[in-house]
Amino acid sequence: MADKVFPDAKSALAGLTFDNMTVMSGGFGLCGIPENLIAALRESGVRGITVISNNAGVDGFGLGQLLETRQIAKMISSYVGENKEFERQYLSGELQLEFNPQGTLAERIRAGGAGIAGFYTKTGVGTLVAEGKEIKRFNGEDYVLETGLTADLSIVKAWKGDREGNLVYRKTARNFNPMMATAGKVCVAEVETLVPVGALDPDCIHTPGVFVDRIIEATFEKRIEQRTTRKREAA
């Protein structure tokens, strides 16, 4: 079988990027983002990207790196603006923005990967989010039609992976990564540790290998947005 393992982020993206493409990028805030693949996307120089990601990174890190270089034409997100450059580009009209409720965004991505063209949710009924969308009544309640989302490429970050493409995520770094892995025409994963095939518990594989086309082992900065701690009480 063609080897899914690539030596680094740059080679893993080779041949997969093109101008005006749509990219899904995993993570919640800076937690569980594919740091290395985002950086490689920046190096690729590809422009006019539509990025589907819950958030937009911070200035200089994560997707913020692609904003600095103005490679992003449009964001589909639920929450942004931890990021001054984002705000500047948005207010100046350089950057398009589509807000989705976070759960609707997650479900749209799952639907895209699962062959579900559309679904009805109560979320957003009666709000701006439902404007122009079909409303249907089920059991006396109104639901709004939302459509599945797919992308030309999805980039995800996992904790462990093997060369079959099986992935395991760690704690809340899982977030949007598993659905995105299913919804890209091609999925590239970066993992902290590449383990031998058979080392992962088959009952606990979050993303079965069928969804992952390429995989790299990488090192991570794992920046923290809000370092909140408590004090140990004196003994």
């Binding site: 919640f28 805030g29 800076l30 937690c31 569980g32 819950n54 997100s77 639920s78 929450y79 942004v80 603006g81 705000e87 948005y90 207010l91 807000f99 409720p101 976070q102 759960g103 609707t104 965004l105 997650a106 479900e107 991505i109 799952r110 949710t121 109560k122 979320t123 957003g124 009924v125 009666g126 709000t127 701006l128 989010v129 904790w159 995520y169 760690r170 704690k171 809340t172 770094a173 899982r174 977030n175 949007f176 990564n177 598993p178 659905m179 979050h206 794992k222 920046r223 923290i224 947005e225 809000q226 370092r227 909140t228 701690t229 408590r230 004090k231 140990r232």
Partner: protein, 218 residues
């Protein structure tokens, strides 16, 4: 005297019940976790994919892979479990969370909520708020009674873009507590007043229709 932030959180904590699964918003709602009555078991859900959220970590426990929906570092408990964002919102949207406590910019007398967008200002997004109010069994708002400029926030009709229509069950402000019949057309019911606050003050600062229906002091 109007309730302080901590008193607001303390009052909101009275809405907790033993065995509840609860999602707490950012700000005052987060403080509610400090007032869970001893002996009561409440499990906190974090919409970024965790059930059983623990307290902030000690300095040497900080883990970048373990954050809450406010992106703050947190800890896990023995009962904790992790799941994807799709599974997390399936849990929320499917009505499996008992109680959501969150902040608001405006609430209307029939339970409409506005808390995500001010037109003309930079909009950061609704995050999970629309999903929470649409899906969670009971929605409690905790907020200041009026805006910084003194304008009422309890309105006949919200002026700001909505987060949800007919979704709020209870509003706790620094002046009192209001019950909403979100299926009906009636006024809100004022069921508690902060100690030393006059009904007339609440009348003056509230646009929404409400009726006093005070409970006996506990």
């Amino acid at each position: 005297m109007a309730w302080t932030r901590d008193q607001l959180a303390q009052r909101a904590a009275k809405e907790l019940r033993d065995g509840f699964y609860v999602n707490l918003g950012i700000g005052i709602p987060t403080l509610v976790a400090n007032y869970i009555p001893p002996g009561m078991e409440v499990t906190l859900q974090s919409e970024n994919g965790m059930l059983g959220m623990g307290p902030f970590p000690y300095e040497d426990e900080v883990d970048p892979d373990l954050i809450n929906a406010g992106k703050q570092t947190i800890t896990e408990l023995p009962k904790s479990s992790y799941f994807s964002s799709a599974d997390s919102f399936a849990m929320i949207r499917g009505g499996h969370i008992d109680l959501s406590i969150l902040g608001a910019m405006e609430v209307s007398q029939n339970g409409d909520l506005a808390n995500w967008m001010v037109p003309g200002r930079m909009v950061k997004g609704m995050g999970g708020a629309m999903d929470l109010v649409a899906g969670v069994k009971r929605v409690v708002v905790v907020m200041e009674h009026t805006a910084k400029d003194g304008a009422p926030k309890l309105l006949r009709k919200c002026a700001l873009p909505l987060t949800g229509v007919r979704v709020v069950d209870l509003v706790i402000t620094d002046l009192g507590v209001f019950e909403i019949d979100k299926k009906g057309e009636g006024p809100m019911q004022l069921i508690e007043i902060a100690d030393g606050v006059a009904l007339d003050e609440i009348r003056a600062k509230t646009e929404a229709a409400f009726e006093p229906r005070m409970q006996q002091a506990a």
